[in-house]
Symmetry: C2
Subunit: 562 residues, 2 copies
């Protein structure tokens, strides 16, 4: 992988975010009626990169890709599941967290991307609980340290065995001179509501907290001796299953493998294409509208299953974004394009709106929400090119609203016969896809004049030409054919010449106006601090704590406070 | 200054945060009835450090220390002032922002501290407007670039001359590969509510925006040709003065110079002492209670003026914290101690509560709020040592609540005859001193069980012994004499051995539970990203943009996106 100092294991050419339970090396997924069990049993020799072993149920990105896949499949493939147990197959250890040798040898970019993806996975667990009624209980049978405890923190409830040894810990600061980077600090105070001085103590001791204090300080929900823990857990499973709102009638939808074709400078899916102009450092992601008419009704939608365009397109787009993030670090800009019949996209949206109470439709909407959130926190300049023949309609219009800028061409392009670009809104633009800070993209856009939001809502379903879209504030610039090439090209060139770091910081700040949530705090406050610390010699220098860990030598620190 | 690569100008031994209008080199403060005018006229040769000139009204920390002083004096010394004009004495330039040569040659720690202080100054301007009815209008007569525009953003209103040249700009990203570091990004979207795509455009062009677009995009409130600008400004002054809630009867309170004595390892004020144990990297800040009885009534309070203990102690504590931040970068831990009669502190609090509507009392409360906020964002481990003879009462108890931990000794110390430590609450702990994210420290503390807040409130005025304080959740650990020395000493030693960077990140995350505000977003999201960028070679490396600026050579960037 470009920019990576390390080789992927087994001669892999890229990090692949697609997997399936039959291929898991690190997790076991068992489903029994309303209860699923996700058992972590990391294959020491199954690391994504060469050069380290995944001891003590420690993990790398590859382990987390499987977890994310399992959480996703539980939502789509197992409509009957209401409770998920997270547990460890090991004795005396739940999970030792992110693998330290992996971190010590990883590029800065990989560390940051690794934390981002693992954060998204944990947010996904909470999203399942909040929006799909699949509740998680984490059973900690030994040491849950660092990322191990952070994984537990994503669950609704944590039960810890009380055997005088099992403990929860966030030992990153004392051991490694980095932060718990997967939401731990935020979840400890904001979700578990641990008092900050207790949290300070907890996060600065290596050995963690166990027994009664773990409950008193709210770090776990319950402790139980080994002999009684299964009974305690069973009672919690029963209670959560009772409380679950999940009503998943019928069969699940199998998330069949995506057909993809990777070429040197492109990736081809059915509805999504990625083309990379390496010299310009631009990746163009084109999403195509459905070619066939959408199913006539809910039954037809269910029958299509994973082939239903919104689901298929979401999966492909998600994979494409993840691929670009991890495997194409030199990409400066992602240009979103769309092509096809906007009416077909709106027809799919209409189905998704009419049947929003159905579990599968809900899952598809929630999934689009998550894909779009993933785009929001992608550290590339995002731009929408809204040109003749495009279909930025409804759900696909969110790509334009997620973009840092949207350029829209006025009228036809000379010498072409494609219809002028039109942008169209659907009800889904007004609530289905909140960003991580809780506002929709249009709400964020119209902070200054909420009346503008109503004005936009009044135009739902209309094919808005460039000048109307600009007047409504839906696009940044409407340009005619003559100005387009010049302005758009100059923008891309200039943008590509700026410092990528400065752009990452700029975009991370401008994309999120207004409120913050636990999730956005994790991506903003916590992640930014961690990124800083991941650059500092005290952590990653030759004598820093990450490098020195396990060598028996103490790290050497620059003791100046910044 | 330790840790600084540069020498302070004129052989100064330290950065001094005390000044007064007669000594200003960069600002002029004129007061005329309800209107004050702050005119920026930076002395090119008045830089705080050697090695750069402050051309084009660019600024360094020294310039901002004068601005902070002026804003502070306006509140205390000029009760009649309702509107403050911010303007430039230069033709065709308002302010070129932070001086780039200063930044390029500054240590990372100085850059971070510089941004922190300038942020506090701008927050202070907004605090004046919100809580003292002193409203700011910024008149931009030329280029307001970078920090120059960020200063304008702190004002309530911005008026820009419309002469085809005057412009507002945030050119940091394209010119310098860093972020606008003084709240600009946050204020553009969250305060001015500029649409994010407009903000993206605005922040990526060097030349900025002028004329009608500046108004349309909400970057300024009004434009006017040079011939009419004074009339426009006068109308705004009149309207804001009318709307102001400021009712400052009587004379102002002169903020007389603080008597300080700097020794090698200590600083001595009247009510505050700083002692530095260099080997242990610990600074002990001791605040003493008033020795005399407080004034009997409001008239007595007014007569004392700057000598009134709460005001004097706040000024001293503020100066001590700023001194530690900038001049003692190797300090790892600040231990807060208090000594004296807690009842005297509570008596002052009672005055401050009884007369809260009086403008001077309001100013004193607001100032304590700001000092405590300054402590909250100070990147040192903060710990309160609550021992016999101490007076963590009311306002001073906030030091314990601001601390990362508070240790309280149970009973007397053997061989001493000082009374056992008691902690006492006053009404001021329940609303007078919100943190930057809007919650009081006790609200933050009791997020898990708001009923605990009520339980604490029910004990206002009581002298709470260590066990009671611990039971109420007001301190972290209550320890007896035997455990104290061991536990407290081990804590200090351990803490001092951790990576300062990791601690900075840890504390910045744990101190702020729950909501975020524009102010806390500036300190968290924006500052953390800027800190990261300030470490990256693209900005600060030998071929980075900050170093190359003005050399005619283009910066060289690592084009990997992180």
């Amino acid at each position: 992988m470009a920019g990576e100092t390390r080789k992927l294991a087994h001669g892999a050419e890229r990090i692949d975010f697609q997997t399936q339970p039959a291929r898991y090396r690190h997790w076991r997924l068992d489903v029994d009626g309303a209860l699923a069990t996700l058992t972590m049993d990391v294959d020491e020799n199954g690391g994504l990169f060469e050069g380290y072993q995944l001891k003590l149920n420690s993990y790398d990105l590859g382990v987390d890709i499987e977890l994310a896949d399992a959480v996703q499949r539980l939502r789509f493939e197992h409509p009957q599941v209401k409770v998920v147990l997270l547990r460890s197959a090991r004795n005396r250890v739940f999970c030792a967290g992110a693998n330290i040798r992996m971190l010590a040898g990883a590029s800065h970019a990989h560390k940051v991307n690794f934390c981002k993806f693992t954060n998204e996975t944990r947010n996904g667990i909470e999203d399942s609980s909040a929006n799909s009624g699949q509740h998680f209980i984490c059973v900690i049978n030994g040491t849950a340290a660092g990322g191990g405890y952070e994984l537990a923190l994503a669950a609704d409830q944590i039960v810890l065995v009380d055997d005088g040894a099992a403990a929860v810990a966030l030992p990153e600061v004392p051991l490694l001179a980095v932060l718990p980077g997967t939401g731990g600090l935020t979840r400890v105070i904001d979700k578990r509501k641990v008092r900050r001085d207790h949290a300070d103590y907890f996060c600065t001791i290596e050995e963690g907290v166990r027994g009664r204090r773990a409950v008193q300080w709210r770090l776990v929900d319950e402790i139980a001796p080994a002999s009684r823990i299964e009974a305690k857990v069973a009672a919690r499973v029963a209670a959560l299953a009772d409380a679950s709102t999940r009503r998943g009638e019928g069969e699940g939808v199998a998330l069949t493998p995506l057909d993809r074709r990777f070429e040197a400078d492109s990736v081809h899916y059915r509805h999504v294409t990625v083309e990379i102009a390496r010299a310009e450092r631009i990746a163009t992601v084109t999403v195509s509208a459905p070619e066939a008419a959408p199913p006539a009704d809910l039954a037809g939608l269910i029958a299509q299953g994973a082939e239903f365009w919104p689901l298929r397109a979401a999966r492909e787009l998600d994979d494409a974004i993840l691929h670009l993030r991890s495997n194409e670090p030199e990409t400066a800009i992602i240009v979103f394009r769309t092509q096809g019949d906007g009416a077909a996209v709106l027809a799919c949206d209409a189905l998704l709106e009419a049947h929003r109470e159905h579990w599968l439709v809900n899952e598809i909407r929630q999934y689009w929400k998550r894909v779009l959130k993933r785009i929001d926190v992608t550290s590339r300049t995002l731009v929408a090119a809204i040109e003749p023949g495009s279909c930025f309609s409804g759900t696909l219009a969110e790509l334009a609203f997620a973009a840092d800028r949207a350029y829209m061409l006025i009228g036809e392009r000379q010498g072409e016969n494609r219809p002028p670009a039109a942008l169209a809104l659907s009800p889904l633009n007004f609530g289905a896809y909140p960003m991580s800070h809780g506002l929709t993209r249009l709400q964020s856009r119209f902070q200054a004049e909420p009346a503008d939001l109503d004005a936009a809502r009044a135009r739902i379903g209309e094919a808005l030409d460039a000048e109307s879209a600009e007047a409504l504030g839906l696009v940044t610039f409407a340009l005619d054919d003559i100005d387009w090439d010049d302005e758009f090209r100059v923008f891309l060139e200039e943008r590509g010449s700026f410092s990528p770091d400065a752009l990452t910081g700029l975009e991370a700040n401008l994309r999120f106006v207004g409120p913050e949530t636990m999730e956005s705090k994790i991506f903003a406050r916590l992640t930014a601090w961690q990124n800083w610390i991941f650059q500092r010699p005290n952590a990653v220098g030759e004598n820093g704590a990450l490098r020195r860990y396990g060598t028996g030598e103490r790290a050497e620190f620059d003791m100046h406070r910044v």
